[in-house]
Amino acid sequence: MDWNFKNGIPIYTQIVDELTMRIASGAYAPGEKLDSVRDMAMDAGVNPNTMQRALSEIERRGLVYSERTSGRFVTRDENVLKELHKELAGRYLDEFVEKLQKIGMDEKEISDFIKEAGNGKNRD
């Protein structure tokens, strides 16, 4: 898996987002053991302290949990995962709607457009 960092946004924030995304998408399966902080830092090419900080943050959000001796695991709690999906979906939708509004579509047009997109009609 590739890590790509954008300019001007704290790397810590970007790692938090990326890890959240990976958990939401199932790239890290529920209950899966994560690599050590050092290995994850090496994989991402970032400072171990930054990786540690990001992991603490997603742990605080309940997305992962630590077991003192055996390491860090992705949560198995379905509620947490469901909440996460909702939150992400909401965030993406907001961005999307905002963009469509910018090009002048109103609410009805947007909602029709989304329905049609589901049926695959908007693209040739």
Partner: protein, 231 residues
């Protein structure tokens, strides 16, 4: 447990002020980028930390003591030039390091040398410039030092090697140590830095945690660097 205290440090070479009242304090457990254009004083600062230059005024302490035999045991230095006896092979250089540095892990050095595809029986003289740099870095990074002072570690190497070097720095990093990397090629290394120090004409013009600066300025360190040092 490493700690570096630099206080009111100045160094002049006759008419040129290479360092002008630098005060810094670095704590264990961080990777620091010492950033600045050529001639900004990066190398001078690193040389003073190594005891290769005597300051004009001010003080430098590593773990509470001035640079000397005791600090040299704990400081691993990658100079900005080839300083090793170039009639020796990689294997002989590994032995040389083992003889003088008790924190040197010969097996680790050999593994790195093999990883980078360096011929262990070739004398250094016959190696390309890039290979020499890689070999020096392997030897330095195979130490378990408190402080690593890396002067332009990625200057002349290809991207694949650069990635390997950064990974080595990360994997070698220990929570009690300090790694100082001097460079002007910031975009290549900025993701591994905890803290950055901008040096301009011998003075510290910016110092802080890399992520804080990104957040505050809304720019990458590299972009900010280009702005601060615009010609």
């Amino acid at each position: 447990m490493a700690r570096i205290e630099i206080s009111e440090l100045s160094k002049d070479f006759g008419s040129i002020m290479a360092l002008d009242g630098v005060t810094l304090s670095l704590d264990k457990g961080c990777i620091v980028g010492l950033l600045g254009p050529n001639g900004s004083g990066k190398t001078t600062l690193i040389k003073i930390l190594n005891g290769l230059l005597v300051p004009t005024s001010g003080t430098v302490e590593i773990n509470g003591i001035e640079p000397g035999v005791e600090t040299k045991k704990k400081v691993a230095y990658l100079p900005d030039r080839n300083a090793l006896p170039d009639y020796m092979t990689s294997d002989q250089l590994v032995e040389l390091y083992s003889d003088f540095f008790y924190d040197f892990d010969a097996a680790k050095a050999e593994a790195m040398i093999d990883d980078l595809g360096i011929d262990r029986n070739q004398v250094m003289q016959k190696m390309s410039k890039g290979t020499k740099e890689k070999l020096q870095l392997c030897l330095v990074m195979a130490r378990q030092a408190d402080v690593y002072l890396l002067d332009e570690p990625i200057g002349g190497v290809d991207p694949a090697t650069r990635d390997y070097i950064l990974k080595t720095i990360i994997s070698n990093y220990n929570e009690d140590g300090i790694v100082i990397i001097s460079t002007h090629l910031i975009s290549d290394i900025e993701s591994v830095l905890d803290n950055v120090i901008f040096l301009k004409e011998g003075r510290v013009v910016l110092e802080g945690a890399a992520d804080d600066i990104r957040e505050k300025e809304g720019k990458s360190i590299d972009e900010l660097f280009r702005e601060v040092f615009r010609c």
